[in-house]
Amino acid sequence: MMALLLAAGLALVALLPGWFGGFPPGRLLGLAASHAGLALAGVVPAALLGLALGVLVTRPSGRALRPAADALAAAAQAVPPVVAVALAVPAFGFGWGPTILALLLYGIMPVLRATVAALEAVPPEARLAALALGYTPAGALREVELPLAWPLVLDGLRVALVLAVATAAVGALAGAATLGTPIVLGLQNQNQLLVLQGAAATAALAFAAEGLLLALAGYGAGRGRRSSASPASSDGTAQSRKP
């Protein structure tokens, strides 16, 4: 809730100057829509890939890939988003391409790391018990391991989403039309009103994304508690109290 309130306040800061000679509110809203679209276009496939890879390297058949995944995660963390966007420009040219690539890189890693950590934190007894009850390995994964791992996975998804909103803003440097555009324009023309509007709007979108994801998670966890009362869901609501 705090995050959504912050988002609303920052959105006001971003939009109000528009009526007093700043960046027009209509265009700012348009940029916000394309910003959100770009972030989602990058983060949704990245999250799916990260989840799939995380499940793969924790299966007995994929365990040998674990060191490679760890090294990749560390390496990706060492490349700041700005640098990833800049490096992708020669390969993809200006526009959406470099940003999408950077979003994929940054989206996969937090989800992959969180999924691996979450699945490894599931007590092996829980899985063995499920197998002993006659679940297939896939069934044990779906019915036992993933529900127990879900709160930590969700935290990874939250980090990926917030990173995606931030990286999409940096994409303005590579020519993508996002909320970073007024920031870059303002910095180039020494127009501090534009800088402030762009910064407030970007931050508003980031808080809104975080708030919506946590609200969604709290709703899901609430429903989960009613149906199965798993320890996972009580952690899920604890997460949602974070800003």
Partner: protein, 374 residues
């Protein structure tokens, strides 16, 4: 999938990168796009020898030290031969002509290096150190011999040597200043939170909220905010504070570093087993003595983990300082981006990645030492 198969996949990636993607591009000057000379064709026999050496690194039957050494030799040969091929391709062209490195080269290099690292990871500590030393020598000797001087990236570096060195130094200073400021903020807050757990919640929520703000927005927003502050308190200008320059970059970076540092100090202090603390108290140790003798040794490995995250983030985030007039390697990246000069961009970006990876590896080593001794 077995580990050997991962090695085979990397080898295949290197071969495909060399065959299908441009390895070198020859352009009339540093800004125009060049014509790609495809694949290994420019490298000749050296490519075959390098790939054979890399192939020797793949099978599990080959001992780790031999595999790593062979892979390293293959990567070094690829580098040197690329330098020679660049010199050949510029033969007879105007002096402004550049031989740039293509996507195939970078992909092949990363795949080869990953293969060496994967084999080297199986070596014991001294073996890994020796491998790193040999790798540095394998880069340094041809560099001294001038094998790379025809590559566009090196030409760009030679033209801007002084600026690159100054930017590197400034980058390190900005990152260091941000880290120091964040420590000054995070350590007392963590100590207070440890003593009074009720204080930890709001502090964590505030620091967590900073993380949500996109970095580019915080860097940019600090300019008007600092300008407003300076207009109210002009005396601050006397302290060297400016709305544009290092101040917004250091402040914003420190804001992001505070959370990992605060969390790791708090987690480290809480890491001591309450029973051990109670035992120390029963033995008559003072509160200060308990902190010094019991809590700190247990806290250090946890703190080193937070420090590692913070240092890597500092090196990356300070890059955005280039946007707000703070200079550093980020300024080179953004200058290259605005000129569409790939080499200039790489001159800024490659050192940033190298610094971040080196810092990560060094502090990880420290973490293991501390963890082993605690």
């Amino acid at each position: 999938m077995r580990a050997g198969e991962a090695g085979r996949a990397l080898l295949l990636l290197a071969v495909l990168a060399g065959l299908l993607l441009p390895w070198l591009t020859v352009a009339p000057n540093r800004l125009l796009p060049g014509t790609a000379t495809n694949g290994f064709s420019g490298l000749g026999w050296a490519a075959a020898a390098a790939l054979a050496a890399l192939a020797l690194a793949v099978p599990r039957r080959v001992p780790a030290w031999l595999g790593a050494a062979a892979g390293l030799g293959g990567v070094a040969l690829l580098l040197v031969a690329t330098g020679w091929a660049a010199a050949d391709s510029l033969e007879g062209l105007a002096s402004a002509a550049r031989a740039g490195l293509g996507g195939g080269f970078w992909l092949g290099l990363v795949a080869g290096a990953a293969l060496v690292v994967a084999r080297g990871a199986a070596l014991p500590g001294p073996g890994r150190a020796a491998l790193a030393a040999v790798a540095l020598a394998a880069l340094w000797l041809p560099w001294q011999a001038g094998s790379f001087e025809s590559l566009s990236l090196v030409v760009e570096y030679r033209a801007r040597q002084a600026a690159v060195h100054a930017a590197l130094l400034r980058h390190l200073m900005l990152a260091g200043a941000a880290l120091a400021l964040a420590l000054l903020l995070a350590v007392p807050l963590a100590w207070a939170g440890f003593r009074r757990p009720g204080a930890a919640g709001p502090v964590g929520a505030t620091l967590g909220a900073v993380q949500v703000v996109p970095a580019i927005a915080l860097f940019a927003a600090l300019i008007p905010l600092l300008a407003g502050l300076l207009a109210l308190l002009p005396a601050l200008r006397g302290l060297g504070l400016g709305a544009i320059g290092p101040a917004p970059a250091v402040l914003a970076t420190a804001g992001y570093l505070a959370l990992p540092l605060w969390r790791s100090v708090l987690g480290g202090l809480a890491a001591a087993d309450p029973a051990a603390v109670a035992a120390a108290r029963a033995m008559g140790m003072t509160e200060g003595g308990i902190t010094r003798e019991v809590r700190l040794p247990l806290a250090l490995p946890v703190f080193a983990g937070g420090l590692r995250v913070a240092v890597v983030q500092a090196i990356g985030l300070v890059t955005l300082g280039g946007l707000v007039g703070a200079g550093g390697l980020g300024a080179l990246v953004f200058e290259g981006l605005s000129q569409f000069a790939t080499d200039l961009m790489l001159l800024g970006a490659l050192p940033i990645m190298a610094l971040a990876l080196a810092a990560d590896a060094l502090i990880r080593l420290l973490e293991h030492r501390l963890g082993a001794s605690a």
